[in-house]
């Protein structure tokens, strides 16, 4: 069980470490403040797995380090019941000069196990890590994958009540990823807590019961994994769009034509099989001919289909106009999607502009997982 109340971490930034002592002695502030975490409150019940997501620098690692006891919060209260093991930044803190085996003893004794306790477990640890003869070599020569395998093996077999994992899963090879994911699921079933931070929304959705989205050190959203991860992905996309817009300004300083608006006529919720219409309105400044392309994407940026007026052998457009694109009987499955419209010259060489639509959701009305529905037949005798 973990209970965190109003955890705040403020870093004092000094020009050099000795300024910290100077400040202590002179009682004159010599630092700038940086708020890494702001009023984080979180209660985790036994058996619950929490996912932490957010941009780089949002405070995920800082929060995990506070839970691990490595960092002290500036203020706030933290209560954790049971033993904690952490896999922070690639495999905890191993001693680089020690061999794998020595590090197992080191880490084990760090967690308060006696030599005999560790001796009983050491073969399991070595087997699980699959490090074979490397276990006798100093860990400084390990690859990052080997490092994580050792760290993960130690942490799992030491069997803590709370496991903190920071990005560690994405490092091992696929075989080890599968093995460790299985271990985590099994660990979870036994009523233990896991706090887990990752950029892989797939892993987050798979493993977590609840997801916390951190933004600039504060909780932006907490809740059901799918709900939070899709909000996060939408946010990421809007950031991408901003970057693109900035780029657009740079690349096409004098627009001769632009897309004024792209609108989904059906609104933001549809069902599989609906007929979908979108409207694109174009304004021209100079007299010119142009074409339109429209890309349909899922919110993780997977392109489903891009259609273009020229692919469909339409004559180039000219002047201000509103163009409607229709998708009859759309076979998309449940998920969140969006469109991107491109305005191109008639030679298809220049893209004058690209514009993103708002998102729309396809509601679930069948069981099949996937992107879109394909007609199919089962041939059975």
């Amino acid at each position: 069980m973990i209970r965190a109340k109003d955890i705040t971490k403020i870093y004092k930034m000094y020009e050099k470490p000795s300024a910290r002592l100077k400040e202590l002695i002179l009682k004159r502030p010599l630092h700038k403040e940086f708020v890494a975490l702001r009023d984080i409150s979180l209660s985790v019940v036994d058996g619950e797995t929490i996912g932490l997501i957010g941009d780089n620098g949002a405070g995920k690692s800082t929060l995990l380090k506070i839970f691990a006891g490595v960092l002290r919060p500036t203020h706030g209260e933290l209560e954790i019941q049971g033993t904690i093991a952490s896999l922070l930044e690639l495999g905890a803190g191993f001693h680089p000069e020690f061999s794998g085996i020595e590090n197992i003893y080191f880490y084990g004794s760090l967690l308060g196990f006696s030599k005999d306790d560790i001796k009983n477990k050491i073969n399991d640890i070595i087997d699980f890590s699959e490090l074979k003869d490397f276990i006798y070599m100093p860990v400084k020569i390990y690859s990052s994958g080997m490092y994580v395998r050792l760290a993960f093996s130690v942490a799992m077999i030491i069997d803590p009540d709370v496991l903190l994992i920071d990005e560690a899963l994405s490092v091992g090879d696929l075989h080890f990823q599968k093995k460790s994911t299985d271990r985590i699921l099994e660990f979870k079933k036994r009523g233990k807590n896991i706090l887990f931070c990752s950029h892989s929304m797939y892993h987050i959705n798979l493993l977590c019961d609840r997801v916390v989205w951190l933004k600039d050190g504060a909780i932006e959203k907490v809740g059901e994994p799918f709900d939070v991860t899709s909000s996060y992905e939408s946010y990421q996309r809007s950031k991408d769009e901003e970057v693109l817009r900035e780029k657009g300004k740079q690349f096409y300083p004098s627009l001769s034509a632009y897309i004024e608006n792209i609108r989904i006529i059906n609104g933001d919720e549809i069902r599989s099989g609906d007929t979908m219409r979108i409207s694109i309105s174009v304004k021209t400044i100079k007299d010119l001919e142009y074409g339109i392309a429209v890309s349909l994407r899922r919110n993780d940026h997977v392109v489903i289909l891009t259609v273009g007026s020229f692919y469909d052998n339409l004559k180039p457009f000219s002047g201000d106009r509103e163009i409607i694109l229709e998708y009859p009987n759309i076979p998309l499955l449940a998920g969140t999607y969006y469109f991107v419209a491109y305005l191109m010259d008639s030679n298809l060489v220049n893209i004058y502009q690209d514009k993103f639509s708002t998102e729309f959701r396809v509601l679930k009305n069948s069981m099949e997982p996937g992107l879109c529905y394909l007609k199919h037949n089962w041939i059975v005798d």
Partner: protein, 255 residues
């Protein structure tokens, strides 16, 4: 809290790593102090003609020097290694919650272990060449006090060094100077009255004089001297520990 399993494991590992490893590494451990001892012997006994306690007791120069120099080596090496012990382990301290106190403790204890071996050999040779004395047993509690004093000093320096990175370099110079302000290679009697106070400002002087009383003169040291050692060893230990515990809150932020 100090974790005994961890301390024991790291200490064993540290001592082992000094003795195993390369064959030449082992050689250096023995050779280095021997060379230093040879140089001091040449300079102070043969060139400067220092005759310790001449007229009071008949003691060869080499016996005089060896009676205390190993304890100094333990002190000097322990302090120097302790002062960088926390900085060196920065990567681990930032990632794992652990009793950081073990690092300076391991540095100090392993250094004493290495040099006390030299001292043990010295006592054996002395027992054969001369005769053993009951007073020698009292050296043990004095060493314990000296180790406590070193630990306190080690805590203080290792935690301050995280904030002021020059401390290990500064200490290197200070320790070299301090050696000559401790009556190891010449007795304090040979020091001119004018500068003798400098020796008495140096805590190590009191330890060294106590060892000389016990080993060379084979007498019980003055009770005030014993009291003094007792009080400031324990005080240094606790003050060092307190400072360390206060400063360690910021280690992960600074390292």
């Amino acid at each position: 809290m100090l974790n005994i399993n961890l301390l024991y494991y790291l200490l064993k590992k540290e001592i082992k790593s000094l003795y195993i490893g390369s064959a030449l590494g082992m050689l250096w451990i023995i050779l280095r102090p021997l060379l230093i001892i040879a140089v001091f012997w040449l300079v102070f006994s043969e060139i400067m003609k220092v005759r310790p306690y001449a007229g009071k007791v008949n003691v060869p120069y080499i016996v005089f020097m060896l009676s205390t120099i190993f304890f100094w080596f333990g002190f000097q090496e322990g302090i120097m290694r302790a002062s960088t012990s926390v900085i060196d382990k920065g990567e681990i301290i930032k990632k794992v919650y652990m009793p950081i106190e073990v690092f300076p403790v391991v540095s100090v204890l392993s250094s004493y272990f290495n040099h006390i071996i030299g001292s043990v050999i010295f006592f054996f040779v002395m027992a054969v060449l001369y005769s053993p004395s009951v007073m020698w047993v009292l050296v043990i509690p004095v060493i314990v006090l000296q180790i406590l004093f070193s630990l306190g000093f080690g805590f203080l320096l290792s935690s301050l060094a995280v904030y002021v990175r020059d401390i290990p370099q500064i200490m290197n110079i200070i320790m070299q100077g301090l050696f000559f302000l401790t009556p190891i290679v010449y007795p304090v009697d040979n020091v001119p009255e004018k500068v003798r106070f400098l020796f008495y400002l140096n805590p190590m002087t009191y330890f060294v004089k106590t060892y000389q009383d016990l080993i060379i003169f084979r007498v019980f040291p003055h009770y005030l001297n014993i009291m003094l050692l007792f009080v400031f060893s324990i005080a240094t230990f606790f003050i060092g520990l307190k400072v360390f515990r206060k400063l360690k809150e910021g280690f992960a932020d600074v390292l």
